[in-house]
Amino acid sequence: MRIAILVTAGAALASASCAPFVASAAGGKSPPAVTQGQPPAGATGAAPAAPVVAAATRDTLSVDRPQYASTYQRRPSPPVLIRNATVLTATGVEIEHGSVLLVDGKIAAVGADVLAPPGATVVDATGKFVTPGIIDTHSHLGVYAAPATQAESDGNEMTNPNTAQVWAEHSFWPQDPQLPLAQAGGVTTIQVLPGSGNLIGGRSVTLHLVPARTVQEMKFPAAPYGLKMACGENPKRVYGSRNTFPSTRMGNMAGYRSAFIGAERYRRRWDQWLTNRQGDPPERDLQLETLADVLRGRILVQNHCYRADEMAQMMDLAREFGFHIRSFHHAVEAYKIADLLAREQVAVSLWADWWGFKMEAFDGIQQNAALVTQGGARAVIHSDSESGIQRLNHEAAKAMWAGRRAGISVSRDQALRWITANPAWVIGLNSLIGTLEAGKNADVVVWSGDPFSVYSRAEQVYINGALVYDRSNPATWWRTDFELGNVPAPGRDR
């Protein structure tokens, strides 16, 4: 079977990318990240998920065995050709009357003239818009699940200011009824983070937004882990109110530094042992294991930090210990230090307009993302909200128009990158998702109109080439177990 595909815009796609940085997932100088499919530091191969521990591995060390590996399987789908749409690629190119072809989970072609292979489902998207799937760098879905009773409050292990040993995936509840709402908003990938009550909150997990029985079935196999860290008011309030350490910002800084001093020692011991594997291995310490992988550049630091001066402190901390902060989160004062962020290549994950709910958020302005972008740093619009995640396109629209009205030039493609290509970089997956380009994962959204209009809604959502949400057919919508018998079924309630 010959598939005739004319990719007329392909060359333009490759050359027209005007992203502020073209960087590899690991930032060039770092070793490969420890991914959600792999054993931790020291293991020799990228071990696939073993359904049963084989006899031969019974005597191996736990560190050499799979660690909660992804069991995600893409949903099989015939090829899909979405055509006649306004295609917003998030690479600097927009194509009128364009097509996107999805084959075997990947984008096979993007362009003005793409022919449907035999057996393909053809979607006429006349008058509609197509974008990459939306990516949220900052979600607590599943760890602060609805219905939000104490029983679902699993996001903040506030029993010690350093809980680097906890993993968000071990709290994640795949039956959170908020998950389908986010998917219906065009979100295809989320980074789920522990909360911000601690200096070091624990590991994040990056998930495909698909129905599943287990978190492993949602885990994005190639995704590196993130480490949640938090500056400022939250940790000092949580622990200070108990008259324990830390109760000040200087206490916060001392807390991070002590933790990483311990991690330096731990990393050295393990790296030595791993080179020759002589004698007993060092004792395994989950907290230090995660921090050591930050020092090795294998885990990406995701740092909740509001104030400009504190972000500068954190960049100095990273310099002291030789790691890189991948993204500041919330960063309501990022616009005050756009130049520093650009120089250090630290991204910022922002809200469009939240402000004032606490002192460190008092200086929030609607032009934050536009000013950061103008300053050459990488901006992301994130949600940190079960409500906002459903409309990240609207949040990006607000930030775009606020910038434009202030005379800051922000293209629609740039605003789209705030919720697609840039978050893909923040979670270390920019080689796989975040743009509409041949070879990328087929995570695609068809919108009823310009996604930056308040009246537009996601009509179809594809993940790895499979249609996972179709607004026109409520009977197929993802309903979590919790919703059955509790929440009236959409479309069957009139």
């Binding site: 609805a146 219905p147 004032g356 308040v454």
Partner: protein
């Protein structure tokens, strides 16, 4: 209570005018004199010396009203010294928020430059939270901001109030009835009360006194309720005491929209509230559209994210746009952030529409007021044009180029 400031004469000419109380007017003129609207139409003579605002290609509407906020009652939510929206008492009927309002709050300019010119400022957190006031987002002392006080009495019947009922919703409902009955008794036997010839009453005299205007139907009882059963409790109690009920929240309202419409009860509803909780498992985006379609009078309010009722009270436009995206008629949505809330709050004789004699709260928009791409071009409050600046615009100018010059 409006202090009339002698303001200039302003003529907004050539725009597409949405009076809300009547059909749209193409190439219309809105003439403003002495703080009120003097004329609206296509044949309006513009007096000499009037300030002209050319609104050709623009949209002119009444200033938007956000019918549930804590504007002026909070500066920074986590700095308790700046928060005035509640008192520590289950029953706070006598608590009127007016004197807690800080007219110098930075939130007021931040909100009004987005085209929101008036707001209900309401107490929160208690079972009987107290009395709200209606304000214009103008400058001056509290007396000048406040248009009407009190506007309504606020009560919560959802999960948040259970403590006040001993831990059960049934206890909450019964306690409300007891207080209302005692307020009736108090109202009939004040002199007995003064002579201590009454049994102990369910609330202090000041609270029972404050409830008289609710019992007399002079002000509505705004009840926060989301679950169908909670809304029905509110409807039941309102029937028993013949109260003017307004439902706030009403997240599951769409499920009993006909019932709410038949009871002639208006709702203050947040379009983007769709997260299921045991307080409202049926919350969904279509709620305002379904309520409006059933004939319920609707005011749209904001809430998504923190500060939706204060710092981000401005997103009521976005909420209304989403209500349209999920089925509400556009004109109905505009009405639900202008004349609708004015009617519900009892100020429609002065607010919410562009008609001669109405207070001149007027906004000129570059386009559709509910759309993100639209800029607010002119904001007029009580006939005075408001500068489009705020603390946030000052921060923007300071950091527009780096490093800043301090």
């Amino acid at each position: 209570m409006i202090a009339i400031i002698l303001a200039q004469t302003i003529a907004i000419t050539g725009g597409t005018v949405f009076p809300v109380s009547g059909p749209r007017i193409e190439y219309g003129t809105v003439l403003i004199r002495d703080g009120v609207i003097a004329a609206v139409g296509t044949n309006v003579a513009v007096p000499n010396g009037a300030q002209r605002i050319d609104a050709r290609g623009k949209i002119v509407t009444p200033g938007l009203i956000n019918a549930f906020t804590q504007l002026g009652l909070t500066e920074v939510d986590l700095a308790p010294g700046t928060v005035e929206s509640s008192v520590r008492s289950d029953v706070a009927a006598a608590f009127n928020v007016a004197e807690g309002i800080n007219p110098a709050s930075t939130l007021i300019p931040v909100t009004r430059i987005e085209g929101i010119t008036s707001a209900l400022v309401a107490p929160v957190d208690s079972f009987i939270a107290g009395q709200s006031v209606f304000i214009d987002l103008t400058d001056g002392p509290i007396e000048q901001l406040v248009v009407k006080s009190p506007v309504a009495m606020h009560v919560t019947l959802d999960e948040a109030a259970k403590r006040a009922g001993g831990g059960s919703r049934a206890g909450v409902a019964e306690r409300l009835r007891r207080i209302l009955r005692d307020a009736q008794a108090y109202g009939q036997r004040r002199s007995d009360y003064e002579r201590r010839q009454m049994r102990d009453l369910a609330a202090p005299a000041a609270d029972l006194e404050a409830l008289q205007s609710v019992l007399a139907g002079r002000i509505p009882l705004v009840v926060t309720a989301h679950r169908v059963s909670d809304m029905r409790t509110a409807l039941r109690i309102a029937r028993e005491f013949n109260l003017r009920l307004v439902l706030a929240g009403a997240a599951e309202g769409w499920q009993i929209a006909d019932e709410i419409a038949r009871a002639n009860v208006p709702v203050l509803v947040e379009p983007l509230a769709n997260i299921p909780s045991f307080n409202a498992l049926g919350a969904r985006y279509e709620n305002p559209a379904r309520l409006a379609a059933a004939g319920v009078k609707v005011a749209l309010v904001a809430g998504a994210g923190p500060g939706g009722t204060a710092h981000n009270a401005r997103i009521v436009k976005q909420e209304a746009g989403n209500a349209v995206a999920y089925g509400m008629d556009w004109d109905a949505a505009l009405r639900a952030v202008t004349l609708g809330p004015a009617e519900i709050l009892g100020v429609a004789d002065r607010y919410g529409s562009l008609e001669p004699g109405r207070v001149a709260n007027v906004v000129v928009w570059s386009g559709d007021p509910l759309e993100f791409s639209t800029a607010v071009e002119h904001v007029i409050i009580r006939g005075r044009e408001i500068p489009l600046t705020s603390r946030q615009s000052e921060l923007l100018e300071r950091y527009r180029t780096l490093p800043p010059r301090y």
